[in-house]
Symmetry: C2
Subunit: 83 residues, 2 copies
């Protein structure tokens, strides 16, 4: 088994109203000095070793996990010996 | 400035219907061998060095960024020299 972790973030320059709202909420709760909050997605899943390849994961990200028009993605994989 | 990255994930045992839906969509698109998809949130923001402390960030996570009843969080910080 391979554990895959995918991070999807909004591209720079794309407005993030959700992040802005959370930032304002933090400031309203008196947490000072917070700026530039950006909210993205974090996904983890397992893949069979035979089906796992960089090409495969990139293709999954482009087709389904991220919207390549407005989002960037990066991923990490790690071998799982026993699950 | 300090850059803070927060990862919020559902606790083990909490059902993740969004993850299940994405997993099914991947399988339907003929990406084989995917299992146990879990979807969480990834947040990044900056804090002024004076306002930044572990206690502060943990308190932000517990009060606003994560729902401690069903979610776990972890975070990383890194110093930013020039932004």
């Amino acid at each position: 088994m391979v554990k895959v972790k995918v991070y999807v973030t909004l591209k720079e320059g794309v407005l993030d109203p959700q992040g802005k709202a959370v930032e304002q909420a933090l400031l309203a709760k008196d947490f000072k000095g917070v700026s530039d909050m950006r909210i993205g997605k974090y996904m983890e899943f397992y893949m069979d070793r035979d089906d796992h390849s960089d090409r495969n994961i990139q293709s999954m990200c482009k087709q389904l996990l991220a919207n390549p028009v407005i989002e960037d993605y990066r991923y990490e994989t790690e071998e799982v010996v026993h699950q």
